[in-house]
Amino acid sequence: MESSHDIQAESIVVRFAGDSGDGVQLMGTQFVAATALTGRDFGTFPDYPAEIRAPHGTTYGVSAYQINLGAGPITTAGDAPKVLVAFNPAALKVNLPLLDDGALVVVNSESFTARGLTKAGYAEDPRKSGELDSFQLVEVDITGLTLEAVKPYGLSKSDAGRSKNFWALGLVQWMFGRDVGIIEDWVVKKFAKNAVVRDANLAALRAGHAYGETAELAAALPHLGTGKASFEPGEYRGVRGGEALALGLAAAGELADRPVIFCSYPITPASPILHQLARMGSLGVGVFQAEDEIAAACAAIGAAYGGAIGVTSSSGPGIALKTEAIGLAINAELPLVVVDSQRGGPSTGLPTKTEQSDLYQAVYGRNADAPLPVIAARSPSDCFAMAIEAVRIALRHMTPVFLLTDGYLANAAEPWLLPDMRDFAPIKSNAAKGPAGKAAIFDRDPKSLGRPWIAPGTPGFMHRIGGLEKDIRTGNISYDAENHQAMTHLRANKVAAVADFIPDQTVELGPQQGAVAVVGWGSTYGALYQAVRRILRTHKSVSHIHLRYLNPFPKNMGALLSGFDRLIVPEMNMGQLATLLRDKLGVEVIQYNKVTGQPFQIRELVRFIEAQLSASVHVGSLPRVMHGDRT
């Protein structure tokens, strides 16, 4: 039987929120696992507090997990949640502003004590103050019912309470008309070592589900239903950017048949890559946790010098420290992959928030004329492909390569159609052409300008390299004026040569030429894609172009962009791609910049782009720079 307020939609955004200790992250990932099996597309994003474990019940200790599920293509975690499960008042307070009008709000009534309300900073109980009037409020004593359910296992009150998240998960599963089978399987595997906890969680899970079943309550609880996604056939898994990037680096090692030596110093939000790779020894990956970022970059350079695939990874402040070492890799012409998981700045900034603001640093941020290739991943699963691409470029051209990702990609998850590794071409590196001897060291490939990669231990090729300018032929130190000019050109030409090997820039959505193109890069892909898709439904002419190669640009970029009257460049920074476009292509762009630490919302993009579409075509009359939706 359908209750009046059921929610049926193409896709639904659900958000779980509670204390760091309430296990909402686990609840979220399990709900996603279950969702996947129902053939829905999804996008997720966890929202951690900055503190490790802030005092219980405080607003800054709230942890949340958002899932956008339904008919595809789903490319973001969604703008405004339609459903919120809040385990305590603080969780309600923090997340209420995000909700869609008329959203369903399930709260754990037990937690709405005077103490809980004050801790959350509520002067008045929001359930009575009327501020929830525009939502569907459902109060459930989740804690009480959980304790009830797990009583047989004789756990302490606090331990018993830990099963809350499973109880709630059971209920949500019911609302989506699903059973709890596959979650049960997971619980059994996960808690095999601790029977009591296992059984308590199973009991809570089933009780939550049964709670929905119980007739007299059903009325209060809506059914939630979404469209089904039409997936390309194949084997899928859910993946986060960090996992995909780590797997991609391991895959590159496999494709190049070289060990990967990953050198890093922990930092938010780059650490997940380190943690993943630390478990990939069997894939030929060695991990070195260095004493600092400088040592990490240097060790990766040393590893590359030794013939391994040297990779170093950090976030903005740590990348800044690697700057000098990266210059050495440029001069010594050694392959090096530098992964930059961007975060809010400047300085320590907002470690747990996302931003796209290291593009300047990647492209221009070194002493002297020191060009290098820069590429960026655009979605969690794309991190896999771009990691392989970064290694491919580094080995082909014998140069350091920047791979840009960010805090959003690192933690966001999406379904990933598992690739067939045989579809990836092996990664080749330059071998010595001539006979043994120093002469061979700088005998470059004429197309890529990459030099042979010859590691110590190779008989007959003993040679010296370093950070001083070198003779373009012999590789010996040279202070000669003309030679320095020639080497400077060579370094520039080498990076330019990358464009001869990468695919032409394509248009994601919309016409190949027209009034407006929305040009983006990196993690904003999903939001821009959806925004343009929505606008296209209204039969307006707009196109979405998304860059993965930022330096050099694909060869057809200039021609492609010249096909549009206006270029809108939305970025989660103050206009760094805009600078690149002006500098390298001399084009005029309309900037849309948002620097809040939050990903773009589809609706704010739609609003801005439509405003541009209806505005007169005369660019001069438009404000050149606009700023993000502040709400």
Binding site: A33, A36, I182, F231, P233, G234, E235, Y236, R237, G238, L247, A250, A251, G253, E254, P259, C263, G281, S282, L283, G284, V285, G286, F288, A290, E291, D292, I294, A295, C298, A299, I301, G302, A303, A304, Y305, G306, G307, A308, E324, A325, G327, L328, L418, D420, M421, A455, P456, G457, T458, F461, M462, H463, R464, I465, G466, G467, L468, N476, I477
Partner: protein, 331 residues
């Protein structure tokens, strides 16, 4: 292994560009000789350096060489070590390169016990940048950046290395063929990090700063050449010895002939003795030279490869790894 090579075979074709009379020449000579003596293979030998006069060293050796950036040689060499633990990796550095900008990397290379042969050419000055004082310069050193005399209190390379947990600490004098040669052979034989401080004369910016114990006339009383298991004696016909006074917990010099029983014997595994010896300073005490401390323990690369028994060879495929989580099929 191919035919025995000579010192000449280890000299590169590059023209040596140190100042005439620089102590680095003598060190270069000693190193090439030892490389030949121990039967090193050029292709399996790598010299990694930072920046400085000392750091020019790799250019002059016929082997693999990497002249990197200032202070970072130990970090770069660590990465190289992990990539190829079969190589003989020498790190050549100066007092500024190693202890000023590079102090952190040296600390961690030593405490991790990375298999590197680290030669620190200590001339107590920044030579390449034209003579500013360094972290080993004595207080009062007048230089372009300390015209009225420096007032930094210096660090002792040996004591620093000991505090960092170095498994091998030795000392030698640039022009002391025998002493330096012996130390270099021990360095070559050591697994894990081998740290050597070489007193090197910078004839241009800090001439004769070590002459209080290196000069011929001061050698006997100024130098104590230690040898594991042998009494710690020095002076003309080795007439003086070191004794430890428990009451003061300090060393003292005694007549070795008169009271031989009280003279300490060198134990290179004892870090307390190492500290006492490394702390000795002229004129009160002689300078301890030779292998002062050697206490082998598992090297970093050995521990690393214990975690990678197949030596970073693949034993699984990425195709399988990406499926190590719940997956689903769409038909």
């Amino acid at each position: 292994m191919s035919a025995q090579l000579t010192a000449k075979d280890f000299a590169s074709e590059q023209e040596v560009r140190w100042c005439p009379g620089c102590g680095d020449y003598a060190i270069l000579k000693a190193v090439t000789r030892v490389l030949a003596d121990v039967g090193a293979q050029p292709e399996n030998t790598v010299f990694v350096s930072g920046i400085g006069c000392a750091a020019r060293f790799p250019y002059y050796i016929e082997s693999y060489g990497f002249h990197t950036i200032h202070g970072r040689a130990p970090a770069i060499a660590t990465g190289l070590r992990l990539a190829n633990p079969e190589l003989d990796i020498w790190v050549v550095t100066g007092d500024g390169d190693a202890l000023s900008i590079g102090g952190n990397h040296l600390l961690h290379a030593l405490r991790r016990n990375v298999g590197l042969k680290i030669l620190l050419f200590n001339n107590e000055v920044y030579g390449l940048t034209k003579g500013q004082f360094s972290p080993t310069s004595r207080p009062g050193t007048r230089t372009p950046s300390s015209p009225a005399g420096s007032f930094d209190s210096p660090v002792s390379p040996g004591l620093f290395a000991l505090g960092a947990g170095a498994s091998f600490i030795a000392r030698a004098i640039d022009v002391d063929k025998q002493g330096l040669g012996g130390v270099l052979e021990a360095v070559h034989a050591h697994e894990g990090a081998a740290f050597v401080e070489i007193y090197q004369n910078c004839i241009v910016y800090n001439d004769d700063v070590f002459s209080t114990f290196t000069a011929k006339e001061n050698a006997a009383d100024g130098q104590l050449h230690v040898k594991h298991g042998e009494p710690l004696v020095f002076g003309v016909d080795r007439g003086k010895g070191l004794r430890f006074d428990v009451a003061t917990m300090k060393l003292e010099i005694v007549d070795a002939k008169a009271r031989p029983a009280e003279v300490l014997r060198h134990d290179e595994t004892n870090s307390t003795l190492a500290q006492l010896l490394l702390a000795m300073q002229p004129p009160e005490f002689p300078v301890a030279l030779g292998v002062v401390h050697r206490n082998p323990r598992t090297s970093f690369e050995a521990a690393f490869y214990k975690h990678h028994p197949t030596g970073l060879k693949r034993t699984a495929s990425v195709a399988d790894a990406m499926r190590q989580t719940s997956t689903w099929w769409v038909k």
